[in-house]
Amino acid sequence: MSDKVTISIKRSDPSKGEAPHFVDYEVPTQEGMVVLDAVHYIENNIDPTLSVRWNCKAARCGSCSAEVNGLPRLMCKTRVDKMGSKISIEPMRAYPVVKDLVTNVSHNWEIAKRIPPFTPKPNLPKPWKIAAIDITRSKEFRTCIECFLCQDVCHVIREHESNYLGPKHMVKVAALDMHPLDSIDRSGFLHTEGGVGFCNITKCCQNICPEGIHITDNAIIPEKERVVNEFYDPIGILIHRRKKK
């Protein structure tokens, strides 16, 4: 590996009317360096005003999402030596830019607020008992670090033309629905407000999830099936209702 790498960062400050433009920086490399290290090098040594969002530098918090060489990635989980000698970094495309690599993702809280929260079955004897096997399905979705990269790649979200929640929120709905002691049915919500019909199962989201969550296969498709059962198939409704009891 060469001892230097060129990092090309798309910078802008929309509030000042500054248009997006790429700036190149030469950064010395170090063994095991990740893209976020390179950005920090620039911040500490070349331009301290370069804006980037990060927290854990351990691929745990989902703060440092960006497009690295056009691919939606966590900067702290992307090794520099795997990305070539010139690396481009751009902010996520699905969200408005705040400054440089930082985007405004607050819309996600508005969506989150609309998703019906965990509602346990009434009068469960305490402490709750749950078989180990029953938690496995929900558990997969609970590893979501809210990096919003799946939202970023989803063409439905990028086009901003539907009310579709997006894959990240489908994962949340699935986590709640598949909690063994949850008592409510979110398929009505998904069918109407959630706009789940807009997802055409391209699996782009699933392919890039840094947590390896099978977003489409394990969350979206089963949820879609439930919606179909509930809203289009009278026999389905019966089966579905019985299962919930």
Binding site: D13, S15, Q30, E31, G32, M33, V34, D37, E43, N44, N45, P48, T49, L50, S51, V52, R53, W54, N55, C56, K57, A58, A59, R60, C61, G62, S63, K77, R79, V98, K99, D100, V102, N104, V105, S106, W109, A112, K113, P117, F118, P120, K126, P127, W128, K129, I130, A131, A132, I135, S138, K139, R142, T143, I145, E146, L176, H179
Partner: protein, 565 residues
């Protein structure tokens, strides 16, 4: 009421404040759900007795108190041990989904120096589950939250709080927030060290805010070094390797293939308290039995791939991605890393209020519970137990208090202070000062401390303080990481000075504080070092005796342990 910090402590306090019917505003320096708590791995300690039936609050109390080497306040550890089970079950009712036992109850894993298997966990992502659960609760409530706001000052008047001033990183604008009660839940200060497991936010802001507002700080010298951090490649140095690895059977070896913990701690071995294991590893490395990168080996591979994928998925990912090591087949290389601050803001044991009326603190920012060493899993338990208690107390306080608005000139004075960093001629780079501070802390105030090193650190900090007056950055107030660092470093230099002063003062070895020149525990040092702000800025020190154990709790200790109190 205003809550500074959206980690586990802040969010749990918010939930409680809402229950009490007060208006709650949470501010956080990062986005909601990203706080340091999200990284917590191993679990929450609570004596549910689901796996080991013998467990109960009394044993949890003794473990916490004794491993804190008699420096903690029993009133905190008693509450922690008694309340934790209820708080965990409540979190489950809020929606958290813990790993299960064969009988369907919450599964508990072994952890260092816990007598019984006690840690309720969600694989190695317990903090993530905790923060998501509480975050959901807050999102679906009437609480307001403001993200990416850095609070830079707490405004007081005649010994009580009026509110706080903060900078909105997203817009570069300032907020003046008037509040009847304020809870500081801003986490630790691990980033004061070069090698750390902590996230960027752990810069001890809350300690500075509280101290400047007139609150007292205590036990600052007590910094926990976690025995196992990653060391190679250099770019990821310090990243945590959860104690869960040892809890689930991980064994430590030196380069001679010797399982050295058998030598240092024949009883508890790899699962002795963190200070003991960290010092043992450090000694192996210092005496030449470490790897070329300066670490020792930790092996879990003998447990098999299936077990590791199920129990330690994050560890598997972490080594695979960052080091190219497959921990199901190979050994990990590890060395100690700065992890947790037992010291912090001194609060009343019944209310978590500071000496400033209306100012409260909870979580890692507060002190008094862990003494000289924190047990794994006791921090998350702390967040739930004292997050709740503090939320309740602050809400009660707020209900009976009157709101006094922050005056325009009070706000503008602080705005001017922050803006002044953008107007410095020939500014000193804040990162440079920060890096130097971190270096001196790591080399002189680490696992092994001595008079010379501590004096050296104090001298260097004094030098840095001189330069710090000229710290400045270019650009604007909007999402300017240089400005944020400049603000942080000002506070950290003062905290560091107090921390090192306390470390020099404490001429004994106790828990995480190890003095090569005073290697023994000394009973006469069973007191807390408290820092009080002087009117003109500096500080004075006070030595408070540790509160005496009531007879019924003292009776729970063994004969030898009783000798120490």
């Amino acid at each position: 009421m205003l809550i500074i910090g959206a980690g586990g402590a802040g969010l749990r306090a918010a939930v409680e404040g809402l229950k009490q019917g007060v208006k709650v505003l949470i501010v956080t320096k990062s986005l909601l759900g990203k706080a340091h708590t999200v990284m917590a791995e191993g679990g929450i300690a609570a004596a549910l007795g689901n796996v080991d039936k013998e467990d109960n609050w009394k044993v949890h109390f003794v473990d916490t108190y004794v491993e804190g080497v008699y420096l903690g306040d029993w009133r905190f550890s008693e509450k922690l041990a008694k309340d934790a089970p209820e708080r965990v079950l409540e979190l489950e009712e809020y929606g958290a989904l813990f790993d299960r036992n064969a009988d369907g109850k919450i599964l508990q894993r072994a952890f260092g120096a816990h007598t019984y298997r006690r840690l309720c966990h969600v694989g190695d992502k317990t903090g993530l589950e905790l923060i998501r659960t509480l975050q959901d609760k807050v999102i679906h409530s009437d609480a307001s939250f403001l993200e990416e706001i850095m609070i830079t000052k707490i405004v007081t008047d005649g010994g009580r709080v009026k509110g706080a001033i903060g900078l909105d990183l997203k817009t570069g604008e300032f907020y003046s927030i008037s509040a009847k009660g304020i809870i500081i839940a801003s986490g630790g200060l691990g980033r004061i060290y070069k090698v750390t497991s902590n996230s960027w936010e752990s810069t001890g802001d809350g300690l500075t805010l509280a101290f400047e507002a007139g609150a007292e700080l205590m036990d600052l010298e007590m910094v926990q070094f976690h025995p196992t951090g990653m060391i190679w490649p250099p770019a990821i140095r310090g990243l945590l390797v959860t104690e869960g690895v040892r809890g689930d059977g991980g064994l430590l070896y030196n380069t001679k293939g010797e399982r050295f913990m058998l030598r240092y701690s024949p009883q508890k071995k790899e699962l002795d308290a963190r200070d003991v294991v960290a010092r043992s590893i450090y000694r192996e490395i210092m005496e030449g039995r470490g790897t070329e990168h300066g670490g020792v080996y930790l092996d879990i591979s003998y447990k098999g791939a299936k077990f590791i994928h199920e129990k330690l998925p994050s560890m598997y990912m972490q080594y695979k991605e960052f080091s190219g090591v497959d921990i199901t087949k190979e050994k990990m290389e590890v060395a100690p890393t700065t992890h947790y601050h037992m010291g912090g803001i001194k609060v009343d044991a019944e209310t978590n209020q500071t000496v400033v009326s209306g100012l409260f603190a909870a979580g890692e920012a507060a002190t008094g519970l862990h003494g000289a060493n924190r047990l794994g899993g006791n921090s998350l338990a702390d967040l739930l137990v004292f997050g709740k208690r503090t939320g309740e107390e602050a809400a009660k306080f707020a209900k009976n208090a009157k709101l006094t608005r922050i005056a325009g000139n009070e706000a503008s004075a602080e705005v001017d202070r922050v803006l002044s960093f953008l107007q410095v001629k020939d500014p000193v780079n804040p990162y440079e000062v920060f890096e130097k501070l971190r270096e001196t802390m790591s080399s002189n105030v680490g696992i092994w401390r001595n008079e010379d090193g501590l004096n050296k650190a104090l001298a260097e900090i004094a030098e840095l303080k001189k330069v710090a007056g000229n710290v400045g950055v270019s650009g604007s107030t909007k999402f300017n990481p240089g400005l944020v660092t400049a603000l942080e470093v000002q506070g950290l230099l003062n905290i560091a000075e107090m921390l090192v002063t306390a470390a020099r003062e404490r001429k004994e070895s106790r828990g995480a504080h190890y003095r090569q020149d005073y290697p023994e525990l000394r009973k006469e040092w069973r007191k807390n070092i408290v820092f009080v702000r002087k009117q003109d800025g500096g500080f004075t020190m006070r030595f408070d005796p540790v509160p005496e154990l009531p007879p019924e709790l003292k009776a729970l200790l063994s004969k030898e342990e009783q000798e120490n109190v």
